[in-house]
Amino acid sequence: MTVTGSPRILTDVATWRDEVVRRHQDGERFAGMYADATAEAVTVTAMLATAGRVDLVSTALAPGSTSYPALTPGVPAAFWYEREIFDLFGIRAEGHPRLDPLLLPLDTGAPRPCPGNGRQPPAADPHEEPIAGHLEGAGLFTIPHGPVRSGVMESVEYLIETPGENIPHLRVRPHAKHRGIEKRFEMLDPDTGVLLAERAEGIATVAHAIAYATAIERLCGARIPPAAELIRVIHAELERIANHLDVATRLADAAALGVATARFGWHKERVMRLRSDLCGNRFGRGVVRPGGVRAPIGMDVDEARSAATDLEKLIGGDERAAMSTASFLDRLRSTGPLPADLARRHGALGPIGRASGITEDIRVSRPYAAYGDLGVVPAHDNGRGDAQARLQVRWAEIHESFRLIREALTRLDRHATNPRLAVDLDQVDGLGIGWAEAPQGEVLYAVDVQDGRLRRVKPRSASFHNLLLFHAVFAGDIFTDFPFIEASFGLSIAGVAS
């Protein structure tokens, strides 16, 4: 593999900022940002993605310093990352337009968890003080949509500032279910760490596990057995199908298409059962471990292949029916449009980005597992960027996933004679980067190992990066469009507020 991810330290904070802004303006995708506290100092790292690489550009803050120049004015996509850093470390981004709490609203001066420093912080009870509204105008009021949502959903609070009907502005408060995952990684051993990575964003278990495991494997310079790579692909693609079917189910439910909701729900259930037949867990948990996979697939290869074929046929029929149901499409067309330009500047990930004209798919641009050999045809759309385009992309991805699964099963059959599924990893200290294309988009893991234990793990979920775009897609839409737009994003709050 040609891909690398080499950390690069720039001690001078000002130079660091200029460098990140310049590279972002030169067209490199801003893929995230995190801070790391060691006993001596705090470093702030920006992740920049180009074709084939993810670069970490870091700066160490002067000892005792609690601020650095904000990236957000030059790199708007850093808006939430810098708020997150303030919440977790108490480090201020000077010049940030609005450094309101995002994940952990604490009182000024309260001790911050500071992941990486190895000390256990006291329990942190977030305060509930409301953040002031952003809009003024006659008759405007705020509808709190959450944290306890309507229906079986994850907890998140959307504050809709509205004069009634329209949604001119929306605020997202994801802090309620913050679980302190990043801190929890500390001091785990790398093998246990994958269990926590699986739970960082439960509906993208496999993608997180793969991203985490490849970070460790890349750090160790290990190459995992081909059969393990294929099994990873099979589970990752089943996960993608299940997620996309979940989106379709929720969209059909929002449009009150009873039969379609039931059919898609049934298909999803069958995918979940296929997953549990293959590995014993309906979410593919326990499949991936650093160095390979834990067990072979629990089904006969031919049986699995024909199950996949049957499923695709069933799903395809219902897909065609749904996409020719006028009352369904009416609700999706031109709903929640994300302009291509904004998607590109923000670096929108996954199906959301691809529905707005972005062609990047990590499985193609930075192949991992067996994707390089299997060859992925990334889905794309004409770039309308609305809910319909996002669903269209998902359907295309479902079919590509089925193709990949069948192809991987066929190749797995060839490896049946060589049942090696994992390699033992040497203990190597240092920083490794791993990634995977989750159903929601690119997942990045920066894993720092010290003395054989995890010192600092930064999972960057696609949900966190993409949810910020939620602000930008409501112009012209009204209350009843909300469930469609939310479902069409298909994000997980667990991944946002981890």
């Binding site: 609005r98 952003h134 003024e136 959450g146 609070e157 329209n166 031109s334 602000h471 112009a475 012209g476």
Partner: protein
């Protein structure tokens, strides 16, 4: 006491009221209420006189030839009696509230209100009794002056001048149109007396008919001459709004009724034009009422809607006359009378109670008026009943009248003229829509303004709660009217039938009674309704349900555990945290975007960007493919990165179509014309002599031509 004596005494009461107000002024609190006591006395006498006249005990006051233009009388015939009775009853309630209201601090800053009130009532009485054009026109003009005084009374208010000028301007136009109409009729009959105009025929008849109805339409606010109404009513002080809308506006209807009685069968096109205009008025009025952010303007716009509904009934009667269907004439007139009575009671309820609510809260902004019913229970109750009446809910007078209105629209199949039938069908659809939106409009008022829990921005207490029993009586009177008259609506119909006798044969109007307590739309075998039975049945059913549920749940139905309202378990939000009145109305702004031309925009001062997301740009937006308001790039930047930009403002506005597209374009040329006309007034004597010469020559030319 004879009817004539009653009327004379009441006019004296009104005159003395005006005199006291002019002499004493509002400075001495003891004397401040005197003018209104005078008005109250006058109103009670008028009511009695009206009832007498309606039931056939009319009377005549001979004015002799003192006024010139021939022998003139004040005649109280049954039709005048009907309107007199309504005027008297409603004015009584208004005067009662006035008495309490003027006692509060700052309500009456200077003299003039008493004069204007007495003048308005007296003008109305004289208009109703006039038997010739000259007296009628004279009173019409004094009513215009009274309106001008009322709308401009609150001099300190920002738009008082504009409102009073607008009101006066339209009133004068109304008078001008009447003058032309009456002149035409005079030319055709050689008499100023209404009774002599029967013989006028041909083009003069049609033209005079149309001009007179246009003049009266201004008074009742039919499109496109309704624009003065919301502004004019809103500008008037407190209870005077009720006087303007629930009493004085009725002379417009009286005029229509009277002109129909005098001129008889109208040209068909007039009925067609009128029914369409009336239905459009209803829809436009309620569309704007539904989205108003100010309580008084909302009620005023609802007057426009009701003007449309009442005129629709009248237009159906005209259609019936044009088609020579006596029963349809009876039905149309009866319908519009019922709607007029319902409106008069409900509107006086609303305007009287809202004056107190607004005074108490110190604001008329609906977003800040919340749950005021709990603070002023009498005003709140009266308001609620008035609102439910205009929403047309069962048990109220509005239900009966709107039932009749829809029933009369459905009689269009009896018309042989396709044009008439089609226009009534179109009007019927608009009317039904307007009635539906009326419900939505008043739900908002009752639910949020009267009952809604108090918001964070609690309305401030600015004045002591009115406790005077007179005020309560004044508030209760129209509200009780809304409910009780509905319960005895067969009696009401008999009363109206008497009053309408000069226009439609009593046996036809009495056909609305299928049985003593069952109503039908004049034509038999079509449908039936018994509001009286409903008034018994619905409360009984409600009580029975309550009893059954209580028994079945063994009383636990009545035990209540109070917990905070469910708000998605949020920890709280800042700013406007609950559904605003504005927000509730926003659905209407969108649904009726084509009528209201709703525009929304997001602007920010700091960033210097402005992004109009014009999702509803009115009729010219092609439906379909084009994404609704594809967001402007700057709006996206604002939403994503900016949201933090201080001073981001979101606003939603509606456009008054008639004002914006009919009047505003001609305003500029008109102003220039006025500037041009000013030059004529050079102040030079020879110029004026020259003008007089020109006028004289012109007059001579006209006389010669007509001879």
């Amino acid at each position: 006491m004879t009817t004539a004596a009653l009327i004379l005494t009441s006019l004296c009461c009104l005159a003395s009221a005006a005199v006291v107000d002019v002499i004493a002024g509002p400075q001495r609190p003891a004397l401040r209420v005197v003018p209104y006591i005078g008005v109250l006395g006058g109103a009670v006498l008028i009511a009695v006189a009206g009832f007498r006249a309606d039931l056939g005990h009319g009377g005549t006051l001979d004015l002799g030839t003192t006024l010139g233009f021939g022998h003139s009388h004040l005649v109280a015939d049954p039709l005048a009696g009907l309107f007199l009775a309504l005027t008297g009853v409603v004015t009584t309630a208004i005067a009662l509230v006035f008495i309490g209201w003027v006692g509060t601090a700052g309500a009456v800053p200077h003299r003039g209100l008493g004069v204007a009130t007495a003048l308005a009532v007296a003008s109305v009485v004289v208009i109703l009794l006039a038997d010739n054009a000259f007296v009628f026109l004279f009173a019409w003009e004094t009513l215009s002056v009274a309106f001008y005084l009322l709308a401009g009374y609150r001099r300190e208010a920002r738009d008082a001048v504009r409102a009073s000028m607008l009101t006066f301007g339209f009133s004068k136009s109304s008078g001008g149109l009447l003058l032309i109409a009456f002149s035409l009729l005079y030319a055709g009959s050689d008499s100023f007396s209404f009774a002599d105009w029967h013989g006028v025929t041909g083009a003069a008849h049609s033209a005079a008919y149309a001009l007179a109805i246009a003049a009266f339409a201004i008074k009742v606010g039919v499109v496109p001459v309704q624009v003065w109404m919301p502004t004019g009513y809103t500008a008037a002080p407190g209870p005077a709004r009720a006087l303007m809308s629930a009493v004085a506006a009725n002379v417009g209807f009286y005029g229509m009724w009277r002109i129909f009685g005098v001129l008889g069968t109208p040209p068909t096109w007039l009925a067609v034009v009128l029914v369409i205009a009336a239905a459009l008025t209803a829809l436009l009025g309620i569309a704007h009422a539904a989205v108003q952010a100010d309580l008084q303007r909302l009620i005023a716009y609802s007057s426009v809607e009701n003007g449309g509904l009442i005129t629709s009934g009248y237009a159906i009667a005209l259609a019936g006359a044009a088609a020579h269907l006596t029963d349809l004439v009876a039905l149309g007139l009866l319908t519009s009378c019922l709607q007029m009575v319902a409106h008069a009671f409900a509107k006086s309820s609303l305007f009287l109670s809202s004056a107190l609510l607004e005074q108490h809260a110190g604001t008329g902004r609906l977003d800040r008026l919340r749950g005021v019913g709990a603070q002023l229970p009498w005003a709140g109750t009266s308001f609620t009943i008035g609102a439910l009446t205009l929403a047309g809910l069962p048990l109220t007078l509005g239900f009966v009248s709107e039932w009749y209105l829809l029933e009369s629209v459905m009689q269009l199949f009896r018309l042989h003229s396709q044009t008439l039938a089609l226009s009534i069908a179109a009007a019927g659809a608009l009317i039904a829509l307007a009635i539906g939106f009326a419900g939505f409009t008043f739900v908002r008022l009752v639910a949020l303004t009267i009952l809604g829990g108090r918001g964070q921005r609690a309305a401030s207490r600015s004045a002591a709660a009115p406790t005077a029993w007179l005020t309560r009586l004044g508030l209760a009177l129209p509200a009780i009217g809304c409910i009780s008259v509905a319960a005895v609506s067969p009696w009401e119909i008999r009363f109206l039938s008497h009053g309408l006798a000069p226009l439609a044969p009593a046996h036809a109007t009495a056909g609305a009674l299928q049985a003593p307590w069952v109503l039908q739309p004049v034509y038999g075998g079509f449908s039936a309704l018994s509001p009286s039975w409903l008034a018994v049945e619905l409360p009984l059913l409600a009580v029975a349900t309550l009893v059954v549920v209580t028994v079945f749940t063994r009383g636990s139905f009545l035990t209540v555990r109070r917990v905070p309202a469910w708000r998605s378990a949020t920890g709280g939000v800042t700013g406007g945290a609950r559904y605003t009145s504005f927000g509730f109305a926003n659905a209407t702004r969108h649904v009726l975007a084509n009528v209201l031309m709703t525009r929304s925009s997001l602007t920010t001062l700091a960033a210097g960007t402005a992004a109009a997301d014009s999702e509803f740009t009115g009729p010219d937006l092609p439906d379909g493919e084009q994404p609704d308001g594809a967001p402007d790039e700057s709006a996206v930047v604002l939403a994503l990165e900016g949201a933090d930009v201080p001073g981001a403002t979101y606003s939603t506005d509606v456009v008054e179509i008639v004002e914006a597209y009919l009047y505003r374009p001609v305003l500029g040329p008109l102003r220039r014309l006025v500037a041009l006309a000013k030059r004529l007034q050079s102040g030079r004597l020879d110029a004026y002599v020259g003008y007089m010469l020109i006028v004289l020559v012109a007059l001579l030319a006209v006389v010669v031509a007509m001879a």
